[in-house]
Symmetry: C2
Subunit: 205 residues, 2 copies
Amino acid sequence: MAKRGYHHGNLKQALIDAALELIAAKGPQGFTMAEAAKQADVSAAAPYRHFTGRDDLIIEMARQGFDLFADLLEFAYRDGQPSPLAAFEAVGRAYLAFARKHPGHYVAMFESGVAPNATRDLAAASARANKVLVRAAADLSQRLPPDRRPPTEMFAAHVSAMSHGIVELYARGTPGSRGPFTPEDLLETGIGIYLRGLGFLDPDC
Amino acid sequence: MAKRGYHHGNLKQALIDAALELIAAKGPQGFTMAEAAKQADVSAAAPYRHFTGRDDLIIEMARQGFDLFADLLEFAYRDGQPSPLAAFEAVGRAYLAFARKHPGHYVAMFESGVAPNATRDLAAASARANKVLVRAAADLSQRLPPDRRPPTEMFAAHVSAMSHGIVELYARGTPGSRGPFTPEDLLETGIGIYLRGLGFLDPDC
DNA sequence: TGTACATCAGTGAACGCGCGTTCACTGATGTAC
DNA sequence: TGTACATCAGTGAACGCGCGTTCACTGATGTAC
């Protein structure tokens, strides 16, 4: 850590980063303002120059998380290229990759107990991420005969649920602790079977 | 609440019940020993006659939860009657019903951060519940041509993940807050599509 | 370039609080004879 | 049935702790002239 003078320079983000590390290591309630401040090498009172309180910090973590999440999903989606199916599967993989690489954000977003509409900003970020999932589902749905299309929102919800369930049950704690399969395997096969159930038989339709 | 004398009579269970209510209302970290004691109308020191500490109480809640969960799943399964498919779907519904009716248990089991193998008893209860899911999946798998059977554990994991994901994302907080579908709808359709993907086209095979 | 001053971003001490837990105690209960 | 005594299951007070937060302060920085 670089030497610093009286002024930190970028304390707000440093506190968020510290809290993310703590939350990833010790669970949603495992961080305290005091400890985040300590980790940022600053007095316990300093955070209150940047956040109105503890909740404010958690909400900001979740907001940044949803923003990043949305970015990654959008990047994976690539406007449906090269094909709706390939793009859809890339989004699924991106979901899992996000949970793996950003556990602190993930916990703040989904396990910290903050309502996704706690603030306008948070709601917007959350909605943006969800929109990518819905769009990927909608594009893929177009390939189905109309009478076999489930409602788009439902399609997206199924995929969200399976992804989230896999993260929570199989991607936490010691790797492999809950079974012989990797989360990535589980998600790929699970989504694959689900898509076949919808009528996507061909790997590149 | 009935009058009682110096001795409570059934304090251990009363404390567990109080903690379950608190945990259901305020999240995994939302209960304290002191508050559970208060709710059971007893001094703050009394719980320590029955539990070695806070963790012990949480583990006991989770253990009872897994026990009840296993019972309900077994009851729903009915040894695969009337058909493997019907029994399988009943198990899915029982999963969701449990999460709905016993939110405190559910949170203690899956969101409190206790490792499922924290104690031998807890591990056994958890394994028993999981075994029902695996058996339901295995029985149903038998109906598939061998070359289309996924590994049984994987099959069960997919269904657990989707069920858990739906509980976490769509069955929490204000009903309908996250979408226009009920969790029950989502699970039924999701599992239905998944099963079709495996090759179960006929509703009563 | 130098100076005065407003503003910003920290400090350090203190607060009130509630928590988990311990301890010596005491009232109630069960049992042996 | 009565009594002595061991055991059980509570009490109430106290502990040390760490937390979130506030407050008066001060050092650093930026800006007007």
